[in-house]
């Protein structure tokens, strides 16, 4: 047993090792044997030297010196027993010799030994942390997916709009990958556009399907529970999941062997794209009806669009709110087209109904932010333990969950980030536990961000204190290591950052269409335009909206028989209703951003010039506000 324990030590100091080092003649036993000493003394020396466990070169020095020592002792006439007695305990001697000799070793050896010890301690600590992490288990307490789908489940089956949409889209199945009209038709085509004939022909050919869309849009709720995995959708709905039909093969299907493993943020939202396309079809149909003088159908189409924007918000998330805004903008543009080119189409009562519809409904941005928060906490409860006090530890499966979020983060930041999985992930667990922000810190940072977003959302723009150099969300652009440390914040915060801007933009658009309807009703009654917008309130408008950027009154400009209503824009000076050059904005610049949305092309590389106004309503001959409107040609 003792021998077995010493084998590693013996292996470390063998002749082979000396030979490998280029050292020969280091056989210390030979040095003892050639000293011609009595057997008991030779045994004592061998015993002592062997116990020192020194390098062989050191052993041979010690062996030679001890041999010489005993030879000298014998030379003075002492007996071997006397010498052995006076030598003392060989075990103690070996221990002291070892300690002393090691002290005399080169500095490099001491450094290496220190580093080795430190590494050993670190490895032990790392393993200990690893074991600590391995013992952690997530505490999934809240079914956020159920919360997400609560409204959809609450809708009685007979009142659900979704089956109508599905039937309508299936009836229009074109050449595209998804059911519904081919893409060129689905755009918000205006009657002066080149593709108008084709679009008009399409909606006329599919009148029954359009009628279904119209009916669906007036239903109270969508009634579509949504899921991360394909299987939970009804078989007839799976073709709307946004993937090419050929890719709906088993290998492409999104599945989760363990349903507990699904993330709320991976929930598929087929209704967003479907309702966006349906809304565009209704906009085309409304314009077609307006041209044909069919006020009832045109109005029904616009009201159905408004209903769609309400339905799409059934699922509380930012994407749905953004699509709701797009649908409303499409409806506003139809109203503007009609009041520009077919302004006698709708009766006063119909105009009042329209205004009432738009007043009653606003996009629920707060609920969308709450949905986003739920997505964040859904991930949090899967990657951390929960100590019921806001804190928690990283769990073994956390790395895999984070790696699933990488595509989302890349979408926001256009950067490649990587979380190790599999064996690499296993060995990186302790490092991840030590590096990734704790549950308390992660959630605190996210809540600070949401707090800022909600405060901004509740504050008019002219009271915003945003600087282009002080983004409201931690961007970590110059600190990618911090992006790793606060990865969840990096992933989930950007989605909410633009919400206050978009909310104000959509509110401004709504102000515009409400003022436009009021102006038209005023014109019909008085035969001319008001000299000032203040004449509209309170009879034509309960309250006159103010300029959402400056807080001052909006400007009204009459050009011949046409009107223009505008905000002063982000430059906060009156440019007479002239749009900024280029009609495009840089959405990376918060302070300038607000003027940008109305001209925002979605291309962040487009140069933004903020010298101009934000036109929120115009019946000057042209296009809807969302595409910008030049008035210079009218002047």
């Amino acid at each position: 047993m003792i021998y077995a324990r010493r084998v590693p030590c013996r292996l470390g100091y063998t002749r082979i090792r000396d030979a490998l080092r280029g050292r020969t003649s280091l056989d210390w036993r030979q040095a003892v044997a050639t000293a011609d000493l009595p057997a008991e003394i030779s045994d004592l020396i061998r015993n002592t030297v062997r116990r020192t466990r020194l390098w062989r070169s050191e052993k041979i020095d010690v062996a030679r010196e001890l041999a010489a020592h005993f030879q000298d002792g014998l030379g003075t006439g002492r007996t071997p027993q006397q010498l052995i007695h006076s030598f003392g305990d060989p075990r103690l001697a070996a221990q002291l010799i070892r300690r002393a000799k090691r002290c005399g070793r080169p500095l490099a050896w001491h450094v290496g030994r220190g580093v080795g010890r430190m590494m050993t301690v670190l490895v032990i600590a790392y393993v200990a942390v690893g074991l600590y992490v391995l013992s952690a288990r997530p505490s999934i307490k809240t079914d956020y997916l159920a919360i997400f789908n609560a409204r959809a489940f609450a809708v009685p089956e007979a009142e659900r709009a979704w089956p109508l949409y599905r039937n309508a889209m299936n009836a229009m199945a074109g050449s595209g990958d998804c059911p519904g009209p081919p893409n060129p038709v689905a755009h918000n085509v205006h009657w002066e556009d080149a593709g108008w004939s084709e679009a008009e022909q399409f909606v006329m050919q599919h009148a029954a399907a359009i009628a279904l869309l119209r009916e669906a849009g007036r239903r109270a709720a969508l009634g579509l529970p949504v899921w991360p995995e394909d299987e939970s959708f009804a078989p007839e709905d799976r073709s709307f999941l946004g993937r090419p039909s050929a890719a709906n093969a088993d290998s492409q299907r999104r599945t989760f062997p363990d349903l507990k493993d699904r993330l709320l943020c991976e929930t598929q939202l087929p209704q967003t794209e479907l309702l966006r396309r349906a809304s565009q079809l209704l906009a085309i149909d409304a314009r077609r009806a307006a041209l044909a003088g069919n006020a009832r159908i045109a109005l029904a189409d616009v009201l159905a669009q408004s209903g769609m924007s309400r339905q799409v918000q059934e699922a509380p998330c930012i994407s749905c709110a953004l699509v709701a805004g797009e649908i409303l903008a499409s409806a506003y543009s139809v109203v503007q087209n009609v009041l520009t080119d077919q302004r006698e189409l709708w009766s006063d009562d119909e105009l009042r109904d329209l205004a009432r519809e738009f007043v009653q409904f606003d996009i629920d941005w707060g609920r969308a932010i709450e949905g986003q928060r739920n997505m964040f906490y859904d991930v949090v409860q899967r990657i951390y333990t929960d100590d019921d006090d806001g804190g928690g530890r990283f769990v073994p499966g956390g790395m895999r969950t984070l790696s699933r979020l990488v595509p989302r983060y890349q979408t926001w930041k256009q950067r490649d980030y990587w979380w190790p999985t599999g064996k690499a992930g296993f060995f990186a667990l302790p490092a991840a536990d030590l590096y990734i922000a704790s549950r308390a810190k992660m959630t605190a940072m996210y809540e600070r961000h949401l707090g800022r977003v909600n405060r901004t959302l509740a504050t008019p723009i002219w009271e915003w204190n945003l600087s282009p150099h002080q983004p409201s969300v931690p961007s970590f652009d110059d600190q990618p290591w911090q992006a790793y440390r606060h990865y969840l914040v990096s992933v989930f915060a950007p989605a909410t950052e633009r919400v206050p801007h978009m909310a104000e933009y959509r509110r401004g658009q709504r102000d515009g269409v409400l003022i436009g309807i009021a102006l038209e009703r005023y014109r019909r009654e008085h035969g001319n335009w008001p000299a000032s917008l203040s004449e509209l309130a309170p009879h034509w408008l309960p309250a006159l909206p103010v300029d959402r950027i400056t807080g001052k009154p909006l400007h009204l400009r009459v050009l011949d028989d046409r009107v223009l209503v505008y905000s002063e824009g982000v430059d906060r000076d009156d440019d007479g209703g002239r749009l900024p050059p280029g009609h495009a904005g840089n959405h990376e610049t918060p302070a300038a951003d607000f003027a940008a949305p109305i001209f925002w092309t979605g291309d962040p590389t487009t140069e933004f010039a903020n010298d101009g106004d934000w036109v929120i309503w115009s019946t000057t001959k042209g296009r809807e506000p969302s595409n910008g409107h030049r008035v210079e040609s009218e002047e």
Binding site: R64, A68, Q71, D72, S86, F87, G88, D89, L96, A100
Partner: protein, 118 residues
């Protein structure tokens, strides 16, 4: 009389350095010299002397060389400059310690006579 280990731990290195101040010596010679000069008081076992020498060498207070010209190879130790400085410093400390002990009556002063003469 044997000195206790703790005391010997302090005195041993100084004694060895002092012996080496007289010239280089090998291990057994040092043991013999220690025993002879101190009437056995500072005699130390070989199991103690050699580690002590290796320690002094590790601290660069002594240097050793292997002499293989004699009937048997011997390792001789000599004082280095650093060792000389250390010996000088230790000697002063021992003197100070000795003076302090003397002032405390260790060792006891001889009894005074009535005439004041010792």
């Amino acid at each position: 009389m044997k000195i206790e280990r703790e005391l010997m731990r302090g005195a041993g290195p100084t004694a060895v350095l002092q012996l080496l101040a007289g010239g280089e010596k090998y291990g057994y010679e040092l043991i013999e010299a220690l025993s002879r000069h101190s009437n056995g008081v500072l005699a130390m076992g070989q199991s103690t002397l050699y580690p002590l020498l290796y320690n002094l060498e590790a601290k660069d207070l002594v240097k050793s060389r292997l002499d293989e010209s004699g009937p048997r190879p011997r390792r001789y130790y000599r004082l280095t400059a650093k060792g000389q400085r250390k010996l000088a410093a230790d000697t002063k400390q021992w003197q100070a310690l000795w003076e302090s002990l003397r002032s405390l009556g260790i060792p006891p002063q001889p009894a005074r006579t009535a005439g004041g003469a010792r």
